[in-house]
Symmetry: D2
Subunit: 275 residues, 4 copies
């Protein structure tokens, strides 16, 4: 049937197909990163509690390319992922980024895996359980034999404005905010630890299921713990500074202000200290 | 070898170029809408106040296609827009959709224009002025000689939860919500009127610039006017029911809950009454 | 410790908290749909092959609200989902939407579940397997005792322009397109069937992993099977018309044109025939 | 009744209103950036040709905050923008970022302005004119007395795969790609120059309006100029290396592959050389 569609090509396999990618390149410009981006892929993720959860990731895989090579081989990125990319945790991610570097004959390789992560939380008074969704991004770089890991977590929180509370007879504007912590270190950094640390720094943590006594509780708790976006990033930075496994970080908070149609934003960075 | 595949093309330019689109189609299926989508385009929009503002629209232009015609002529959609699409208001939109229908030899034509719209508002106490952004979508359909207009406005508002206020010792959770009203009628429906009507129905309207006395004012106003998402759509529907120019509508409200990572949503529809 | 934070509340449980939602409403406006929207939630989905896959859904759950009731009870939506929403297939979705209607004392209830769905496909020549991602949306409505199901699938495809091929000496512009089919019927409509039917109607189907012989194959196949966006929706509509389980449908195709920065779009609708 | 709820605050309005933001902060953590984000705002932009165009920007404005100060004054960011932010070009942006730094008593200030920008292009054969939309982002930083400018442009292009062309009997897969160049230097970098340089490096540039002879032209041109995503970033880097006004840059290209549902990606960076 295919023969009917392509009668001119005959039955025989074509003689070896040209490999453009392996040709010499004369522009002599090294490419820092080349590969695939935006690939959706089902993964299993396990964190501190070691319970495995199935989720859907959006994945980027890149390598560097020497100045004299024309192109990389895009299909190999998916092959590496298919071979060993279904389960994602610290050690496996190290193995995966090494395999990518080796399979593509590259000097460096980078993997970025972005996925929703769920934690079952009990409502504060009723104790009813429900899942809260967070965004997790894991980045691993193999540069020669050196492996570097970065963990990025985005956590929804409630923030209540201290100024609004202080100046108003009653009430205070509050809103959903999103905190993103980018943390880097040589030891394992647990996603669950970062989430707990962020939630403890806001006016209130967020839940998926709240009965009336729970709603009363979180309303009053937020009112008792007003934080500016500045307070939020400082509270988090203070806590991050006590963690020995975190060497450098960036804390960003964005409040979807309930009184404006734009966000309030703050950021504290602790840079990598060169040896 | 390429010559074998394309014997008719030879060395000389084919003259005239084949017009595939005008060929007969034998599947005998009428196409309801065909055209272009997602075209960004600078327009000028004038509303009730007749003051013209420059903005950037995302535009869809479609026509129907008879069962026996293979394809439409995509370049003509942009030509119609270029000829007469820079200024958008009621009468001009009617002219534009008629031109589209005529230029494409179609039975019906539809235009959808989506753009940010700005209103300068004075803060409630300080009187300081700043621009608030809204989303406006205008839809015009020419079906034969009949022209039909729909106006869709999305308005950011503050909503404060009546339940949270009632059960809590102090405070009440509140958040930014987005209300979308889709309004249809034979007379002109002014965007400014819809926005005013929506803002009057929420716990508080939203501003881009608030000094401290203003922030006190909107905080207290929201606390004094709690609305569920259900109240919000009902308040708006009540007001829409008094407008003679609005024959049918849909009111949707979505609260970006400050205590959850999901939205609360409500919708009231008043359908078109058939004659 | 909580007592220290909230000294005014004492140790005893507050006397029954006000239930604002159950109050009478005097605006006398029925709400068509009220509930929660944008809730992310891990589900398991099984289709025709009955193999279960884990994925992450974005979920809306709504009910109608009688004119005399002030508000719905938002926490119950999540409770219904938690109780029976982890596994999603036809029968279970029917049960879920009935439970939602009953738990909320509503006349009608609606569930919409949107998630990525994966099919392992073998590359056409090398046979190498990899996962392709599709978007699936399942909608179920319980209106009184009547249950109605709608399946919506979005499928990436390759489209190659017949006009560009016909008028050019060599080559033809082609691009990724997205086809969305919304299908409704009383019998079960399998997602896999819709995907196969859509992929067979394009210039070529899409793969996640193609070796060079595969790339040659899909390039030539697309060149041999040029389709306008109009052809694409007609090819699909022809096939849908032969399926007895599909009573009404909408086919939409959007080509992310490689020669423009906007899309070409076409749509055919087969409406519900009233009895 | 409200008084009963809030007995601790008394009846009288607090005068003057507390200025929480100006309080001392004892956490002693400097904040790198704090301000507003996601503000939509109409601006006028003029580039090399000095013709002014009206467009809609999304704007971020931030400053640093000393360790001993509790909060910034969010309303002042909008005040600075309202006073002098309507017209955006090089000199005015310098003035604006200085005013922001001064008005907020900050050591450093940063402005980021993101907007669609339009160029009228004539189709290559018919000469018909239409607007193509690009994305421009301007970043200005005032750090003490030092001002630093960065220009970021995203340009849609056509890319045709060299491998697909080489191995296939006829045709070659091609697609829309997006190139983003981030360019930094002390002299003025013109947006128009960057766009021209990027478009010259792709298989073909993109148009909004093409008649049949134009479509033939761009189809054949793309087939004659195949580029991998690697070629694209190298072609652009070569050209950027000849520009004396550009001291450092990042070139990123993302192809929305027509044969996959993910992107091909490449990036070349030329870092800032420290003095």
């Amino acid at each position: 049937m295919l023969q009917q569609l392509f009668p001119l090509k005959g039955d025989v396999a074509p003689t070896p197909l040209a490999d453009c990618q392996s040709q010499q390149d004369e522009r002599l410009l090294r490419i820092n990163r080349v590969g695939i981006k935006g690939l959706r892929y089902p993964i299993q993720f396990s964190n501190k509690s070691s319970q495995i959860q199935s989720t859907i990731a959006t994945i980027s895989l890149t390598v560097d390319l020497p100045a004299h090579v024309k192109g990389t081989h895009m299909s190999r990125f998916v092959e590496v992922l298919n071979k060993d990319g279904r389960v994602i945790e610290g050690q496996n991610l190290t193995r995966l980024v090494r395999q990518l570097r080796d399979r593509l004959d590259a000097g460096s390789a980078e993997i970025e895996i972005d996925f929703p992560y769920f934690i079952e939380k009990a409502a504060p008074i009723s104790g009813q359980k429900a899942l809260v969704d967070y965004n997790v991004k894991l980045n691993a770089i193999a540069c020669g034999s050196k492996i570097s890991h970065t963990v990025i977590v985005t956590v929804p929180v409630t923030t209540l404005c201290p100024c609004s509370k202080a100046i108003s007879e009653y009430g205070a504007h509050n809103q959903r905010g999103y905190v993103t912590v980018t943390a880097h270190g040589e030891e394992t950094i647990w996603v669950d630890d970062l989430i707990a640390l962020i939630e403890a720094s806001a006016s209130s943590e967020i839940f998926a299921l709240l009965k009336r006594p729970d709603e009363k509780h979180v309303t009053e708790q937020a009112y008792q713990n007003p934080v500016f976006v500045e307070d939020l990033v400082r509270n988090i930075a203070l806590r991050l500074n006590t963690r020995t496994e975190i060497e450098s970080y960036k804390v960003e908070a964005e409040n979807m202000e309930s009184i404006h149609n734009h966000s309030a934003y703050a950021c504290i960075e602790k840079p990598v200290v060169s040896a």
